[in-house]
Symmetry: C2
Subunit: 274 residues, 2 copies
């Protein structure tokens, strides 16, 4: 076997997963990354289980064929609706964003009361509820369908976004959850709203970002694997990135940079032929 | 040839086209309707020309195979990006929403200054700009990406929607268009916001709803066609509806009723197999 530097495949319906990639690259710089953004068929948040599962397993196969030795499902909806199906279909380890977020939330909560915000589909799946209840937590989930379009409009610090987020949080921190002490960001778009959410969430609340938590789990999993013997070239501490998008490459570059925090360069269009 | 009652195929990426169907059924009740909502792949508003053209011609073929003798592209994005391609691919007459809206706007404007609001893709295509300039109008287009999610959240009379719409209209009615006297609703979701937009648009502005204008054009076109000899049963004045949706049927029924204004019953799932 030739020595190998790990290649991690990251999948999302669009741009949001780039917040996970950003955390991964910071925490695991001695890996290379290939990212699949299914931008022609986004958003997954309003789609049915069957549709999401079919799209996500297709993307997982694509990343494997392009050399991914591990898959990160950087999409809360795809993880919530289809992680089992993806894991079954893949021949490499698969990590979703729900379990790491739930684990971190359980560790951070003092009073075992946790609020989770996400898309309609993620909330309807109750994946976070189950993962948190399995850890002895009491959880309330709240769908916030306007936050993704507000982030994509670039209104991450806009007064309208503040009002909308406040309405959602008021509804979430209610009905016995007034004193919940953890807020889980159950959507990969939401890390861009972290400064705003920090300001408006009740003061005693810890915000758990599932992008960060997932990167930590990937890092630990790689540390547990037997260390491959790397050449000098392979041991470099700057990751290489390659992006695949099912819709406009130009748009992926432009919007993607906002989520990744640096320029998005090597983007290739994938034709879905449907 | 057996006598035939007309069957009109109506296509949209999702639910918005139901506002066009609603106007059609009111204006042309002696026809039957089949509606194709490509809900598994919505929204089209953020997708590229190639992707939209491929999806829309597929849907047009589907409606023809199911008996449509005329096609209404009740989606501004699909009309703006792909009407030529759809017309070329179809063997029945095809009517889009852009030309009827532009025609009505030109007739309503006194000072030849028109503002058009729509999705990002519709605006980027400049289809309305071209159609209005061809009629001697001066037009300004403004993308309003948050209005569709606000309508889908059901916030059609919400203070947040009023603030967002006011921000968009302030940007639109500016730069030489302060006195524009027509506002074209270039997205089939927007008719649900008509009461709100009437309140906040400058008082002298006429609102042109492309759903209404399109239904008028279809009605005129049918009147010009040679009248078929109809049986009594075929002459009934209550249209029959059949719906095809590429995503969840249950969700189509639930959300669809809001746009159509009455219950959505006969919905069949279409499996895209991609």
């Amino acid at each position: 076997m030739p020595p190998r530097r790990p290649t991690i495949g990251v999948f999302d319906s669009g741009f949001g997963g780039l917040t996970v990639l950003r955390e991964l690259a910071a925490l695991v710089p001695d890996a290379d990354y290939i990212y699949f953004g299914d931008t022609a068929r986004l958003p997954y948040g309003s789609k049915s289980v069957e549709t999401v599962a079919r799209y996500a397993t297709g993307a997982a196969h694509y990343l494997e064929r392009h050399g991914a030795g591990m898959l990160v499902i950087a999409c809360n909806t795809a993880t919530a609706l289809a992680l089992d199906r993806i894991t079954e279909a893949a021949s490499v380890p698969v990590i979703g964003v729900v379990e790491p977020g739930a684990e971190r939330a359980a560790a951070a909560s003092q009073n075992r009361k946790v609020v989770v915000i996400g898309t309609e589909a993620t909330v309807a799946s109750h994946a976070y509820l189950r993962a948190l209840q399995a850890r002895g937590m009491d959880a309330k989930e709240k769908a916030c369908p306007l936050l993704v379009p507000l982030v994509e409009e670039g209104w991450v610090e806009h007064p309208v976004t503040e009002v909308v987020a406040q309405i959602y949080l008021n509804e979430a921190f209610a009905g016995g959850f007034e004193h919940a002490d953890v807020l889980v960001l159950g959507c990969t778009h939401y890390p861009l709203l972290k400064p705003l959410l920090h300001r408006i969430a009740p003061a005693h609340v810890t915000i758990v970002d599932s992008a960060e938590s997932t990167a930590q789990v990937v890092s630990e999993q790689l540390r547990r694997s037997p260390l491959p013997i790397l050449t000098d070239e392979e041991r470099r501490h700057t990751p290489r990135f390659k992006f695949f998008a099912t819709d406009s490459v130009e748009k992926f570059r432009r919007l993607g940079a906002r989520f990744l925090g640096h320029p998005v360069e090597d983007v290739q269009h994938v034709d879905l032929k449907e």
